[in-house]
C-alpha cells in the first residue's frame, strides 16, 4: 500500500470546502485526486498519486534523461576496452 502510481491529470476543480482537487487517469481508470500538495501542476501533467493525494509531479525530461543514460550504458562500456 506504500506504492504511489503516476496518473495523467485531466481536470482541476475545487470541492465545496475550497480544497484543490482534480481528476487523474491511471491507464483508463479515472479517480479523484487531492492537489493541495502540488499547487504547480496543470491539466495534462503527470502526477504521482498515493491514497488519493498527488505528492509530486513526474518530470518527463528527467524520465527521458535517465532513460537515455541507461541506453548509452553499453556504448560507454565499449569505449573503455583498451585499444589493441
Amino acid at each position: 500500500m506504500c506504492l504511489a502510481i503516476p496518473g495523467k491529470l485531466i481536470e482541476i476543480s475545487h470541492d465545496p470546502h475550497g480544497v484543490r482537487m482534480g481528476k487523474a487517469n491511471f491507464g483508463g481508470i479515472v479517480k479523484q485526486v487531492c492537489l493541495e500538495y502540488t499547487p504547480e501542476v496543470k491539466a495534462g501533467d503527470y502526477v504521482l498519486v498515493h491514497v488519493g493525494f498527488a505528492l509530486g509531479k513526474v518530470d518527463e525530461e528527467e524520465a527521458a534523461r535517465t532513460y537515455r543514460l541507461l541506453e548509452e550504458m553499453n556504448q560507454l562500456t565499449e569505449l573503455e576496452v583498451p585499444d589493441l
Binding site: C2, C34, T38, V51, L55, V58, E60, R65, L70
Partner: protein, 379 residues
C-alpha cells in the same frame, strides 16, 4: 507519458545487468527498504538476474507488516464498539491480531469499511453524524500527508465525530536501527523513492556518513531497481558512501515542502513499536496534543493494551534482512496468504507474501550455480 512503460524494457535491463557484472569484484549485500521495491524484485526475478555476488535482502518497508500487534488489538477494541464505524485501507483487514482479524469482526457485525483514501473516511464521518468514525492511520512518510490532511480538514471544518488511530512509522530510524544491530549484514541501501518524494533525502545524508554506507534513492520499475543496484555497487567498489538519487524524475533533495509542513502541523515524532522488531526510538508519528479531539487512542481509552507476539513467526528477522522467508519453517506450510501467521504474509508488499505469490515456496532457495540462465519475465 512515453517513458512510463519504457522503464520495463527488457533489452535495456540486460545492458544494466552486464554493467553490474563488469563492475562487481566481490560479494555485497544490499537492502531495498521499501515493500513496493521488494514486490518488483520478486515479480521480475531481479534478484536472480543480477550477478551472484550481489545479494538483495528485503527491508522493513511494508507498513501493514510492521504495524504492531498492540495497534491491531487497539483497532479491534475500537471497531467492536456499536457506536463506531471503523475505516481502514483494505490490506489491514486480514492482519492477524491476538484473537482474530478485522474481517472476522466484520462478519460478526462490526461496521468496518474499506476506504481508498483517508478523505473517504472523512466523507463517511460527514454522512454519519450520529456515529463515531475512526480511520486506521498507518503508513510510512508517503501516507502521512494524506492522513495529515484528513485530520486537518476535520479540525478546520469542525467534524467532531472523526478520529484517527495513528500508527505511523518512519524510514530513517529503521535504517539506523538495522545498521546498529550486531547481526547486520547490509552494506548498501536502495532508498525508498516514494517516501523521499515527500521527505526529500537530506535526512539520509548523516546516516550514510555515520555508518559509511551508500544509500541510493531508487524508483519502483525494474529498470529503476537495476540502476539503483548498479549505482550502489559502483559506490561500494569505489569505497564511497554517498546519498545518490536514481529517481530524479520524481524525487528532489528537499522533497515536497508543502506536504512536510502540514505533516509537522498535525503530527509529532514519537517512539514506535514495530511488529516483530520491537520499539525503535523516535521512529514514528503521533498526533499533536492540540489535535487530541481527533485522537482515537485517547477518545476510546485503549492506550494501555499490551500484547505478546507469537513465537513461531520469524518475520522480525525477515524485516531486518537477517533471514529470508524460505528460512522460516512455517513458510508455505502452516503460513500462507490464506492463513497468514505473521504480518509479512498478509500484504502483497510483505516479503513472505511476495515470495509466495511468485512461487518461491515451490523452488529451492537460489543457488550459486546455474543462475546465469535465470530469465527476466516481463508481463
Amino acid at each position: 507519458m512515453k517513458y512510463l512503460d519504457e522503464y520495463r524494457n527488457e533489452a535495456l535491463a540486460q545492458k544494466v545487468v552486464s554493467e553490474i557484472r563488469r563492475l562487481v569484484t566481490k560479494p555485497w549485500v544490499l537492502m531495498e527498504v521499501c515493500g513496493g521495491q521488494t514486490h518488483t524484485i520478486v515479480k521480475y526475478g531481479i534478484d536472480h538476474l543480477i550477478p551472484p555476488e550481489v545479494e538483495l535482502v528485503h527491508g522493513p518497508g511494508c507498513p501493514v507488516c510492521v504495524t504492531s500487534l498492540e495497534m491491531i488489538d487497539k483497532a479491534h477494541a475500537i471497531a467492536r464498539r456499536p457506536d463506531v464505524i471503523f475505516t481502514s485501507f483494505g490490506d489491514m483487514l486480514r492482519v492477524p491480531g491476538s484473537e482474530c482479524d478485522l474481517l472476522v469482526l466484520k462478519s460478526r457485525g462490526a461496521d468496518i469499511r474499506v476506504v481508498y483514501s483517508p478523505i473517504d473516511a472523512l466523507k463517511i464521518a460527514r454522512a454519519n453524524p450520529n456515529k463515531k468514525v475512526v480511520f486506521f492511520a498507518i503508513g510510512f512518510e508517503t501516507t502521512a500527508p494524506g492522513n495529515a490532511m484528513a485530520v486537518w480538514q476535520a479540525h478546520q471544518q469542525g467534524i467532531k465525530n472523526f478520529s484517527v488511530l495513528v500508527s505511523h512509522v518512519l524510514v530513517p530510524p529503521a535504517i539506523a536501527s538495522i545498521l546498529q544491530s550486531p547481526f547486520n549484514r547490509v552494506q548498501g541501501f536502495l532508498g525508498p523513492g516514494h517516501v523521499c518524494t515527500v521527505m526529500g533525502y537530506r535526512e539520509y545524508e548523516p546516516i550514510a556518513e555515520r555508518f559509511r554506507v551508500p544509500i541510493v534513492i531508487t524508483g519502483f520499475e525494474p529498470l529503476d531497481i537495476l540502476e539503483g543496484v548498479l549505482m550502489t555497487v559502483r559506490q561500494l567498489e569505489l569505497g564511497k558512501w554517498e546519498v545518490q538519487n536514481q529517481y530524479p524524475r520524481v524525487v528532489r533533495r528537499e522533497g515536497n515542502l508543502i506536504a512536510q509542513n502540514l505533516v509537522n502541523d498535525v503530527f509529532e515524532i514519537s517512539d514506535r513499536k514495530w511488529r516483530g522488531v520491537g520499539s525503535i526510538p523516535k521512529s514514528g508519528y503521533k498526533l499533536r496534543y492540540e489535535l487530541r479531539d481527533h485522537d482515537a487512542e485517547r477518545i476510546f481509552e485503549v492506550e494501555e493494551i499490551d500484547t505478546q507476539e507469537p513465537t513461531i513467526c520469524i518475520s522480525g528477522l525477515v524485516l531486518r534482512g537477517v533471514k529470508k522467508p524460505h528460512d522460516c519453517p512455517a513458510f508455505g506450510k502452516q503460513c500462507t496468504p490464506e492463513h497468514p501467521l505473521g504480518a509479512t504474509m498478509v500484504s502483497a508488499e510483505g516479503a513472505c507474501a511476495a515470495y509466495y505469490a511468485y512461487g518461491r515456496h515451490l523452488q529451492q532457495p537460489k543457488q550459486e550455480c546455474g543462475r546465469e540462465e535465470a530469465v527476466i519475465s516481463y508481463q
